[in-house]
Symmetry: C3
Subunit: 266 residues, 3 copies
């Protein structure tokens, strides 16, 4: 038996909005430690990893480990029916082929039950080793989203270059080129407006803007984003989720010279 009660239900609404365009079907894994998901995007280029720790739930009962295959588009349709202030409870009986989402309005005058069919999804859980990164950029998530959107109007890929002074986002397209430089800035009124560069080694990597723009759908979850870069590793774009977890997106860099059309990120 599974029963997870999340007072700030809007977090789950935002999580679905963040990943439903990237991933069609995925297993949600439930264990004593938390509610998590790991899935490749439908073109098998990017990886999403979600973690909501059990401590973040008002009530968290998970008698045994459970993996529930869900169609994220259908789940999103149901999450959209929850009010922004609703408490959301996820319920499943052992061996059941359905999951129930219960939405309670703050006044308790409106109670909704949505029951969704589960699906069998083959998935292998990738072990993602902890790694040292050459550079880590922390910046306002809305600024990162704005930059990815702006650059996508000019070109298809973004070069992210980190130096001690700041981070540069560049692109090139038919109509011209664009370079956007953000300076390290830690002396801001609000901590979430800071741009913080943690650089062990300068790094310059190229990524498909299409995926970066997908990742920024998670912007409503957190006012800051952390971008971890190393030349030998996929970039990690991480959004913290309140006090309870995170959503992380992984994307391999493009080899700069490789611009042929068979590139899966093209």
């Amino acid at each position: 038996m599974l029963e997870l009660r999340l007072v700030q239900g809007s977090l789950l609404k935002k999580v679905l909005e963040a990943i439903k365009d990237l991933v069609n079907d995925a297993n949600f894994d439930c264990s004593a430690t938390g509610f998590s998901l790991q899935a490749m995007d439908s073109s098998h280029v990017a990886l999403v990893a979600l973690l909501l720790r059990s401590e973040g739930f008002e009530h968290y009962r998970c008698d045994r480990n459970l993996s529930m295959g869900m169609n994220l588009n259908n789940m999103s349709k149901m999450m959209k029916c929850a009010g922004n202030d609703d408490i959301i409870t996820i319920k499943a009986d052992d061996g059941s082929d359905t999951v129930t989402f219960m939405f309670e309005s703050p006044t308790q005058d409106k109670i909704s039950d949505f029951e969704m069919k589960l699906m069998d999804i083959d998935s292998e859980h990738l072990g993602i080793p902890e790694a040292e990164y050459q550079s880590i950029v922390r910046m306002p998530s809305a600024e990162f989203a704005r930059i990815c959107k702006d650059l996508a109007s000019i070109g298809d890929t973004v070069v992210i270059s980190v130096t001690k002074e700041g981070v540069k986002f560049s692109t090139r397209g038919d109509i011209g080129t664009a370079n956007i430089v953000l300076r390290q800035n830690t002396t801001v009124d609000k901590p979430e407006e800071a741009t913080i560069i943690e650089m062990n080694e300068p790094v310059s990597l190229t990524f498909a803007l299409r995926y970066m723009n997908s990742f920024t759908k998670a912007t409503p979850l957190s006012s800051t984003v952390m971008i971890s870069l190393s030349s030998e590793l996929p970039v990690v774009v991480e959004y913290k989720i309140a006090e309870m977890g995170h959503i992380r997106f992984y994307l391999a860099p493009k080899i700069e010279e490789d611009e042929d059309e068979t590139n899966p990120q093209g």
Copy 2:
């Protein structure tokens, strides 16, 4: 000669928005008692009845009964040209084949005249007998609109079930099922936020969500909606219009077992 001056012209704008998608052409009937309309929707499943009583107009002159056939889409185009604070006057000469809508801005600095061609429309006026209903639900109109919209993302029909404790809206579709329960609640800060159940007999009836969602286009006209249900009668979904009248939508229940594709509500 007809001359009806409506100070709160935005009401007429909202009335048109409420019915223009449901009804293409209809006769507006003008008599000493008021300005009214009764029309079937274009697929002859739902019925709309509008009444604006003469007392609600600042000036109401209607020398003899007049029935004016209008294309509601064209009339809506003209109404959209009125400002939200404009005074609207409807004018027609006896025997004329046009109607004039005059819009006066609050400062009287902008005066608009829109003249629209009338059309001949065959229509039979149905007598709708007053009836006793098994259950009547009064609830916030925005909540009703939200529920109909939410359920339509899951299924095609809604089962409305009334008990003493509350009203349940249910649907079922390919991706799962949904049940939304509203509890009777009369102890709210604002009367328009109350959910009031007046139950003589429990009732459970099925309706096409497509029509219910059309009816909720009238939501801007009133903060509450009244839903009258009886197993032998069409449901009545009623929105009061300020102090001057109402708009009522009638829809026959679906026979629950009848799910074949020839059903006109399908």
Copy 3:
């Protein structure tokens, strides 16, 4: 060498939004007196003239007259990447085939460089003689935009008629006719809400609403619009740009009886 620094960069963003749908490619002409553009719309019916005087720039360096051919759609894509509070600097080296737009955020923490390819555009600069107009109407620009939009839902052309008392905008279409009268009104709380008629001679002229609606894309640039009318001349629809210049649209009146389909404004 060219370097023009505009503190209120949003003006340039608005200018592009105002003209990009009307004109595809155009030469921006830069001289000691200012930054200007004159171009016919793509169907060669309307003329746009833009002037931003050099005094309006914080820094204005233009060593020699320069004409830079730009694709306005591409330029608009780049301008959309500037923040509303950004300072915009336009830079070009002598003989270069590119122009650079630099955007500086108010805090100087974000600096963007967008480089766009220039194009060779044949254009003849029309001398537009100063003229006396029979009537000049000054009115709120938002009101003019609203009227043009409203009338376009009824008909294709607008007749603008000026008398001492006011200005009338009329149209006629399949569904009926519309007349909107604005009264001269100079006793308003805010000067930008005034409607001021300067009439030497009454005038009544017909124009294609499609073009008028294009012109109103400049509405965000100014709270008032000035419409100059004479029976022998193109109408001038002028929006002042802050303290630094204007954008003017010119459109020849339609000959009222000429409603054949070969009319270029049809």
